[in-house]
């Protein structure tokens, strides 16, 4: 471990240019920060000089001004955040609560696997958005159908990942646990579950990203609020700054939830430094 860190430091010192040194001294990713600034600047310039296709696109400055002037203090804007977040959390958490146990069962029970796997494999390739019409027909409210579609987005991912995770548990670990005196229940809790945590981790990380994709699309089609709806309404009402504000908000919201999930997973698997 110590060797690995030493190795990295050496590469950082040898790397050419001042950014690496600056990054090391300040702990900030200066290269990345510069790229963001360059992106925003380029965008502003393209809009200013009315580059091809940019005639109707608002610039970052205009969008930011509109945001500060009206949206930052507007209750309905923050309600959009809340509505989308609630759907993501509901769909995502439900998917984990049902998907993790199902994945564990499928991985450990051969008969159940034979029974259910073909059905799962057939349903898995159907994109969550394709569930929208059926979902609206089935569920009594639009809210429930959006949550359901969001759930679908994360559900298959976690089931398949947990299932694969169970099947890669080291035989030696199971054998040793038995040698050392563990019974079946203990083996499940202290060997199977921790062995599968990395796979759960992958499933959740992929799942949370997909969940945001799905929720935004579903809101555009069937929602009456939320960040997806906000963005779509900006387009329909010809207030193009709102489209930008909506998109950037979605970006931040997605980033925030991914960061939250990865923080949680880090806490759950402290041995994976």
């Amino acid at each position: 471990m110590a060797d690995a860190t030493a190795g990295q430091t050496v590469t950082a010192c040898n790397a050419p240019g001042g950014f690496s040194r600056l990054a090391r001294l300040t702990g900030v990713n200066w290269r990345g920060a510069l790229a963001v600034v360059a992106f925003v600047l380029g965008w502003e310039l393209l809009v200013r000089f009315k580059a091809l296709g940019f005639a109707a696109v608002p610039g970052p400055l205009e969008s930011l001004t509109a945001f500060w002037a009206t949206y930052a203090s507007k209750a309905s804007y923050w309600e959009s955040w809340f509505a989308s977040f609630r759907r993501v959390v509901a769909g995502f958490v439900l998917a984990q609560l049902l998907g993790i146990p199902l994945g564990l069962f499928l991985g450990t029970r051969e008969r159940l696997r034979e029974l259910m796997f073909p059905v799962l494999e057939l349903m898995r390739p159907i994109p969550p958005i394709a569930w929208v019409p059926l979902s609206i027909l089935f569920w009594p409210t639009h809210e429930l159908s959006i949550i359901f579609i969001t759930f679908i987005g994360a559900f298959f991912i976690i089931v398949i990942n947990v299932h694969d995770g169970v099947r890669t548990i080291k035989q030696e670990h199971l054998w040793l646990a038995r040698s050392l005196g563990a019974g079946e229940a203990m083996i499940f809790r202290r060997i199977v579950l921790p062995s599968v945590l990395p796979a759960i981790s992958v499933g959740m990380t992929l799942g949370i990203a997909v969940t945001w994709n799905v929720v935004i699309a579903a809101e555009m089609i069937a929602g009456d609020n939320g960040l997806g709806r906000l963005t779509w309404e900006g387009y329909v009402s010809h207030t193009s700054t709102v489209v930008i504000i909506g998109m950037v908000s979605i970006g931040f919201a997605g980033y925030l939830s991914s960061a939250l999930v990865s923080w949680l997973l880090h806490k759950l698997t402290p041995w994976r430094a």
Binding site: E172, W175, L180, A182, T269, P270, W271
Partner: protein, 278 residues
């Protein structure tokens, strides 16, 4: 101490194992016999795929024999009619290591005795720290995760985890196979020291003849599959073993006696491998 020394006699009688008898019928072991005394350090040398792990798994209680039997202190451990049952009296250290990566070193080491309720958590921790310290100052690594240790340290911790259960037999399945010469040599020193401190019956599996002769009291050479004991050799080198013994007359004489046999079996295994691939 004497009590411990009188335990751990292994008797392997005409052990046989056929994998998948209805289909491919791979005969892994056939008529494999050995008498191992309590406290003896035994090394089993054999070419790759000759059935060494199969024998070890039968002793450990991971798999069933299809003929013959294995007794530990007169009690049948394995036979075609015995349900395989792993237990703390015979713990394995595997080639690739099998510490639980999600537990700290200390949690790994106390897992056996606390699980079996032989010791309370505090007593187990005290015993673990003591053993870790004796086995080369490993106690300072107690709060680390296995992934943060070198492979040599991991393997030693694993040996300590096995010894914590006061096993009658310590089963080592090529534990140093993947190591470079220098680390391997350091591990030999550690293992010999540990064996002097805790004189259990040791079954050490390897395909490295020099390693076997340097470590063991008795070396068995196995034939290619189906595995049988081909030769048995008593190593009358004094203990503690030192590196200069590796060039001593006695050591070289022992090596001369078996090297031809081992080479012959390795050659057969290699040729069969070529045939099976062709």
């Amino acid at each position: 101490m004497n009590d411990v020394l009188h335990q751990g006699a292994l008797s392997i009688r005409q052990a046989g194992k056929i994998y998948d008898p209805a289909g491919a019928a791979v005969v892994a072991l056939e008529d494999c016999s050995a008498e191992i005394r309590a406290g003896e350090f035994v090394a089993i040398v054999g070419p790759s795929g000759c059935g060494k792990s199969t024998l070890l798994n039968a002793i450990a209680g991971f798999d069933r024999l299809t003929s013959g039997e294995i007794l530990l202190d007169g009690v049948t451990l394995a036979s075609p009619g015995t349900e395989p049952r792993p237990g703390p009296q015979r713990v394995v250290v595997f080639q690739h290591g099998a510490l639980f990566p999600w537990m700290t070193v200390l949690e790994n080491v106390i897992y056996g005795p606390t699980r079996q309720r032989v010791l309370g958590a505090d007593a187990a921790r005290a015993k673990a720290l003591d053993m870790l310290r004796r086995c080369g100052g490993l106690d300072t690594a107690g709060q680390r995760y296995p992934g943060q240790l070198s492979s040599g340290m991991q393997r030693r911790v694993e040996i300590v985890r096995a010894l914590m259960n006061e096993p009658k037999v310590l089963l080592l399945d090529e534990p140093f196979r993947a190591m470079d010469t220098v680390s391997k040599s350091a591990m030999h020193r550690h293992l010999l020291d540990i064996h002097a401190l805790y004189p259990k019956t040791v079954l050490f599996i390897t395909h490295d003849l020099e390693e076997a002769l340097f470590l063991a009291d008795t070396v068995y050479v196995m034939t290619t599959r189906p595995g049988r004991m081909k030769t048995m050799l008593r190593v009358n080198l004094a203990r503690p073993r030192t590196l200069d013994m590796l060039v001593s007359h006695e050591y070289l004489e022992l090596k001369r006696q078996v090297v031809a046999g081992v080479h012959e079996e390795a050659q057969k295994a290699f040729e069969r491998g070529e045939r099976e691939l062709a």
